[in-house]
């Protein structure tokens, strides 16, 4: 009789709860992603295979151990190693190629099996001069940014000072904007 109607109302209210929670939380997701860089798509690849996202294919080329280039450089902290990381990116679509002249950013970091994240070092004496680009941008002879043609591979080298125990399981993480995406390249 009446209790069936009340139950109906009760269930209706119960169904409203996720709707209200969603209305409160969803507008914050964008701000959360912007502030923390988390969220968004994920693309994972292992063993040098390609990870595809946003019209680009990212690949881990190599992780090798580096050494201090100058005899009298500032010494490294104890129990650490230099990791020289080379990755490549290749646009698969025109859109992907055009990303290289936009304000979009790529934050490259080294990761280990335990989930720790290392930012590239500011030092420039960790590895010999290489033909690879230090950033995810291509430049012409006059140092202007140029879009990358579809299928053209750009190799990028970054260097890290990591604890020695992290070196064996090092992988790479790349955070992309503006369409938030995380690329994980595992060894």
């Amino acid at each position: 009789m009446n209790w069936r109607r009340n139950l109906g109302y009760g269930l209706g209210l119960l169904a409203l709860i996720p709707a209200v929670v969603a209305a409160e939380v969803l507008p914050w997701r964008e701000k959360y992603e912007f502030l923390t860089g988390k969220g968004g798509q994920e693309a994972v690849a292992a063993h040098g295979q390609g990870a595809r996202v946003n019209g680009m294919e990212w690949r881990l080329k190599s992780i090798t151990e580096g050494e201090l280039q100058e005899e009298f450089s500032r010494p490294l902290p104890p129990r650490t190693k230099i990791a020289v990381v080379v990755i490549s990116v290749k646009p698969l679509t025109d859109q992907g190629g055009k990303w290289f002249v936009t304000d979009g950013t790529c934050k490259i970091a080294a990761t280990d099996k335990a989930g720790r994240i290392w930012q590239p070092s500011f030092r420039n004496d960790l590895a010999p001069k290489s033909p690879h680009s230090p950033t995810c941008r291509a430049f012409d002879a006059n140092y202007n940014m140029v879009p990358l043609p579809v299928g053209k591979e750009l190799t990028i080298q970054t260097e890290y000072v990591v604890p020695a125990d992290a070196f064996p399981t090092l992988g790479v993480q790349i955070r992309l904007t503006p369409n938030p995406a995380t690329v994980r390249l595992n060894p």
Binding site: L35, R74, P77, P78, T80, A114, G115, R116, I117, W118, Q119, V161, V162, P163, D165, A166
Partner: protein, 197 residues
């Protein structure tokens, strides 16, 4: 008549209840305060983001920084007293910098770190590579007793200091000890830079 009195009394009691609950509601700042882990001098405090141990506290009338090249910086005087907190800190999973380090005195005043370069609060720490170094504050001479070091990842601008864990370390500055420290303060202290361990 009795029903009228009962309703009025119920109304008054409910009103008092509403006022009481409203008053007990913490203000915006308290609501968003990070949940802090407490520690004492010499104790390693662990949070999800960083590990911290305060090793010692020194005072000085003026300071100068000895940089990694062995060069002395300019001598910096103060209208109060320099407080140099030596600490060891390590990042756990991601890069960490204690941008929100501050000294909180018993009267509730918060002193931000000095803008002097090369101190521990301005060092970006990578996971697994701890560092030892100084954190510098300037405070009035009579405010030292009971001071607590608070460490957070984010600074105080933009409300970001409410994100992430916080650590409060009691610097062990009891009234008499603080007074004796202030009396024995050296006029000049040369402060070493941050060292990675």
């Amino acid at each position: 008549m009795k029903r009228a009195i009962v309703s009025v009394l119920t109304g008054v009691v409910l009103l008092a209840g509403i006022l009481g609950v409203r008053r007990a509601d913490p203000d915006g700042d308290r609501k968003y305060e990070p949940i802090a882990t407490s520690g004492v001098m010499g104790q390693q405090v662990n949070t999800t983001t960083f590990q911290l141990r305060v090793d010692r506290v020194e005072l000085a009338g003026s300071v100068r920084i000895l940089d990694s090249y062995g060069l002395l910086g300019t001598t910096k005087t103060t209208a109060g007293i320099w407080v140099v907190v030596w600490a060891t800190v390590a990042a756990t999973t991601e890069e960490f910098q204690m941008q929100g380090a501050r000294l909180r005195t018993t009267d509730g005043v918060e002193y931000l770190t000095s803008t002097v370069q090369g101190t521990l609060d301005k060092t970006a720490l990578q996971p697994g590579i701890p560092a030892y170094g100084p954190i510098l504050f300037e405070i009035p001479r009579d405010k030292l007793a009971g001071a607590v070091l608070r460490v957070t990842r984010h600074g105080t601008k933009g409300g970001l200091d409410h994100l992430g864990p916080a650590v409060d370390v009691d610097l062990g500055l009891s009234g008499s000890y603080a007074k004796s420290l202030v009396q024995r303060t050296p006029a000049l202290l040369t402060v070493d830079q941050v060292r990675e361990l």
